[in-house]
Symmetry: C2
Subunit: 217 residues, 2 copies
């Protein structure tokens, strides 16, 4: 869902977009909706002929900017499959969350508090410029924030490289975000990942994922 939302919106904005997957043939052979009722990838792909599906390595090799929209538990494996040489020096927008669904709903976090998935990815790929972003709201609002309150709500970036954060902030603003708050270095990813515990309960209480917080100051 998150990958499709990002890929679709980036293509719509005129970017050249490739989607990486573990096994292209297997992904294109899917005919069933996923566990959350979303249509299989080929249905989405048919509506987005300009977005090419390739391996993780091909998708990242020529990329200027990489988006990690994989499940948190497989993020490092997916980036490893992409190959460190295809990641080196590039900006990675890390949208993943370290959700552990093994205990049912709501999920817990498999890393937190004194570490984060953003930091683990940065540590595993030191030459990657990891910017944690967009992991705090529903996919539809990540890419089209104007659908809610004219985009008058807040998102966050965290990362060690100032220029990379500027690149990501500009990208988020191109989506329609009006309030992108720089929380600091990549350790600040602990804050946005742990916020998921509140987000999940708000979703339950409000009975919709179509909400976001605005930081009033």
């Amino acid at each position: 869902m998150v990958g499709q939302a990002l890929a679709g919106r980036l293509a719509e904005l005129g970017h050249e977009v490739g989607v990486g997957t573990r096994d292209v043939a297997a992904t294109m052979a899917r005919t069933e909706p996923d566990g959350m009722g979303n249509p299989p990838y080929p249905t989405w792909a048919a509506a987005h002929p300009d977005v090419r599906l390739t391996t993780f390595a091909e998708a990242t090799a020529g990329a200027e900017l990489i988006v990690n929209a994989t499940s948190g538990e497989v993020s490092i494996a997916a980036l490893t499959a992409a190959g460190a040489q295809n990641l080196a020096g590039k900006v990675l927008v890390d949208i993943s969350n370290p959700l552990d669904h093994s205990g049912g709903f709501p999920p817990t976090l498999f890393v937190k508090d004194s570490d984060s998935l953003g930091e683990q990815i940065q540590a595993a790929f030191p030459d990657l410029r990891v910017v944690k972003a967009l992991n705090t709201l529903a996919a539809a609002l990540m890419v089209n924030p104007g659908q809610l309150a004219d985009g008058q709500h807040s998102v966050f970036v965290a990362g060690n490289d100032t220029d990379s954060k500027k690149t990501v902030i500009a990208l988020l603003e191109s989506f329609g975000h009006t309030d992108v708050i720089d929380l600091g270095d990549i350790t600040s990813a602990r804050g946005t990942e742990m916020y998921l515990a509140l987000w999940l309960r708000l979703m339950g209480s409000l009975n919709t994922p179509f909400f976001n917080v605005k930081v009033i100051r």
Copy 2:
């Protein structure tokens, strides 16, 4: 700070307020500001002659509603000192956060994710009606939310007893809160306690504790 803010505001609104402490004489003998530069209790007490300082047991014995504004690491000890018989059947507004300052700033949490301090308090005192609330914003904004954006921002309650949550929601509204969101049972305290990780980094980034989130939906 939190206790003084709550006690002062409750007294201002016409409630009869008592403050509990471990050792009344020791608290009244303080002459130095605390570690955060706040004046010692006697200075505050002199300006609030209507608020009586007593032991935890005396403060809770006659109370209709109890506020836990102790540091998270001593909350259960303070409530134990109050005595289970003085707590039974009463509503506890639990503002504490499970902050572990031993590793420096920002603090980590000594309980999280699969448990929370709110739950630990509820488990330790089954006859207490614990309502987690107000642990997500600065003391000044807890009790005078109208100081920021006319109170147009959000706070949360979590607890097992619906009537107790209604009591607390009414109390928060009497302070000026306009959007009190019921997150569900006391396990939802995990959400608001873990949000502290984001709150602390927002405070660092914004360089002020004078902010809050508004849930836009």
